[in-house]
């Protein structure tokens, strides 16, 4: 608020400066959080990598930090995370985009006003509840359908996670499509386009940066999701791409190890931070990318 500054009393008030300092200090807490996260992750991770070579960590196919002899190959955990993320994306992206196109192009304003918040309640369900659902409903259902899945398996975790992420994709994509100017649609209709053509060849391409951002954000959330994979996917770090088997995701390893009583400073304790740092870097790159894309579509149309 710069224009009003000249209107204020010319006398300097100490109370006003104190207030500004207190407000600024509160704002610093969020900066301190980021610094704290970086320090908390990377200092122990650095110590970890003095004991275990980065190459062994990133290329090793055997993850058994709690056994003798210990192996610290992170590939099984990364494979587990990638597989569950791929399944979740295969569900969330097409279905979320479909829901977004319906909400933006087909639903009446009243229908949208009701349907969008109702759809977003899916995102408000705690992830532990989705984990419960995957374990006690979806896995038995898959077996009834004749798919031979283990009790813990990547498939049901991924499917449920996909549904959980549908509102993430739908909401952000719908926002982007809503920002596409009416003129573009009217122009296409004037040229004789059908509603399908307007939706798929005009609105979706015009909103593409927002849609891609929603996809990236969904992937990032899938990679960082913990409870569904911990409860329903298992804690078995085997390098497999068979979704019917149990596996272990990075987040599940962190949670399972963190819950135990590993002694501070031990190599087992440090693995939490090495895997956590890997997770943090992966999601940060995706988040920064998504935030930039969102800013781009806002700049173009708003």
């Amino acid at each position: 608020m710069t224009t009003e500054l000249t209107l204020r009393a010319p006398r300097r008030r100490i109370g006003e400066d104190v207030v500004k300092a207190v407000l600024g200090l509160c704002a610093l807490i969020s900066v301190a959080t980021t610094v704290g996260i970086v320090v908390a992750l990377f200092v122990p991770a650095y110590e970890f990598f003095r004991e275990v070579s980065v190459v062994d960590f990133l290329t090793g196919k055997d993850w058994s930090p709690l056994f003798e002899p210990a192996h610290f190959g992170v590939l099984p955990l990364i494979a587990g995370t990638l597989l569950v993320t791929a399944i979740a994306s295969a569900v969330a992206m097409p279905l979320g985009l479909g829901a977004a196109i319906y909400l933006s192009e087909y639903a009446s304003p009243r229908g949208r006003g009701f349907l969008k918040p109702a759809f977003e309640t899916l995102a408000g369900i705690p992830t532990i509840v989705f984990g419960y659902f995957a374990l006690t409903f979806v896995t038995p259902l898959l077996r009834d359908l004749g798919i031979q899945v283990d009790i813990f398996n990547t498939l049901s975790a991924g499917l449920v996670m996909g549904v959980m992420l549908m509102p993430t994709v739908a909401s952000l994509s719908e926002d982007a499509m809503g920002a596409v100017p009416r003129d573009l649609r009217d122009g296409a209709y004037a040229l004789g386009s059908t509603k399908v053509q307007v939706a798929t060849r005009v609105v979706v391409p015009a909103a593409v940066s927002g849609i891609v951002a929603s996809f990236v954000l969904a992937i990032s959330r899938a990679v960082g999701e913990t409870m569904i994979v911990l409860v329903a996917m298992g804690q078995q770090p085997t390098l497999t791409f068979d979704p019917r088997q149990a596996a272990e995701a990075m987040t599940a390893f962190i949670a399972a190890t963190g819950a135990g009583d590993v002694p501070t400073g031990s190599i087992e304790y440090k693995t939490i931070f090495a895997v956590g740092a890997t997770l943090f870097v992966l999601t940060l790159v995706m988040n920064v990318f998504a935030i930039r894309l969102v800013r781009r579509y806002r700049e173009v149309y708003e």
Binding site: G98, R221, A255
Partner: protein, 279 residues
């Protein structure tokens, strides 16, 4: 294929997409109610957990979740609102450090919750030596939902029109007087709604509390500086036990959790509709 048919097919596919979300939500709720309702009784609400499912309850977890909720609001509302006031009313947006602050808050909002758990484990539990206590859990959940509160409070403050501020200055008010007596009161409904939604997100969070060490057997009522478990953690603990009855107890606990969240969300919607102002 005729144009009309393509159009109808396309619309049908879109409706199916949307319906899969709603259908899953419905099946999930029905499953939880079917499994959990028989176990939803006073024993669940008033008894501690036990190895015997017929007398096991979630009382310590429910109490801890209420404590965490109150502490969280006490921490997160002032910090979040003050940060929002700073960014909206005081910060010079062209300065690099204020831009950095905004980007930082956006990024923090997307950091996986388990990473906050690692932060809590490293700094609060082990670093500060606070131990695996309820206060540490409340503090880490505060940091987790702080960006949500800041973003909601900023939007509420931004929606207060400038004419209100100018009116205050014209009457000789200082900047803080304008903020505290004009802008903030007008922004309260938006801030309250955002805070309640943040609270309901925090109450449903499990992963960071696992890292803090809340997965323990607690048979007594928790205190702020003592060991604790929380409702989502109790659900996780029930799910890990082999007997089938505990899965049903987990479902009953989920009903309690969802009931709390539903109440909070209804409250948020009520405030939004009751006090919404158009300038």
């Amino acid at each position: 294929m005729s144009r009309g048919l393509t159009g109808r097919l396309f619309k049908g596919v879109l409706i199916v997409s949307l319906s899969i979300g709603f259908l899953t939500l419905a099946v999930l709720l029905v499953t939880v109610l079917r499994d959990g309702l028989p176990y939803l009784d006073l024993t669940l609400l008033t008894s501690p957990p036990s190895s015997d499912p017929s007398i096991a309850g979630a009382r310590p977890a429910i109490i801890a979740t209420l404590y965490i909720g109150v502490l969280l609001l006490l921490f997160v509302v002032p910090i979040g609102v003050f940060t929002a006031i700073y960014l909206e009313e005081y910060a010079d947006r062209s300065r690099w450090y204020n831009k950095l602050l905004e980007i930082n808050i956006q990024n923090l909002a997307a950091v996986p919750s388990i990473v906050y758990g690692i932060l809590g484990l490293a700094f609060l539990v082990r670093g500060l030596g606070l131990g695996r206590v309820l206060l540490a859990g409340a503090m880490i959940l505060t940091l987790l939902v702080l960006p949500t509160v800041i973003i909601a409070a900023r939007e509420a403050i931004r929606s207060v029109p400038d004419s209100i501020r100018q009116g205050g200055y014209a009457l000789g008010a200082t900047q803080w007087q304008v903020v505290a007596r004009q802008v903030l009161p007008a922004a309260i409904p938006g801030i309250a709604t955002g805070s309640i939604l943040a609270l309901s997100r925090a109450i449903g969070e499990t992963a960071p509390l696992i890292m803090i060490g809340a997965v323990t057997y607690i048979s007594f009522d928790p205190t702020i500086l003592g060991p604790f478990t929380a409702l989502p953690i109790q659900i996780y603990s029930f799910l890990r036990l082999p007997q089938a009855e505990f899965k049903l107890l987990a479902a009953a606990s989920i009903i309690v959790l969802l009931a709390i969240l539903l109440t909070l969300n209804a409250f948020a919607i009520l405030i939004r509709n009751r006090y919404r102002r158009t300038w």
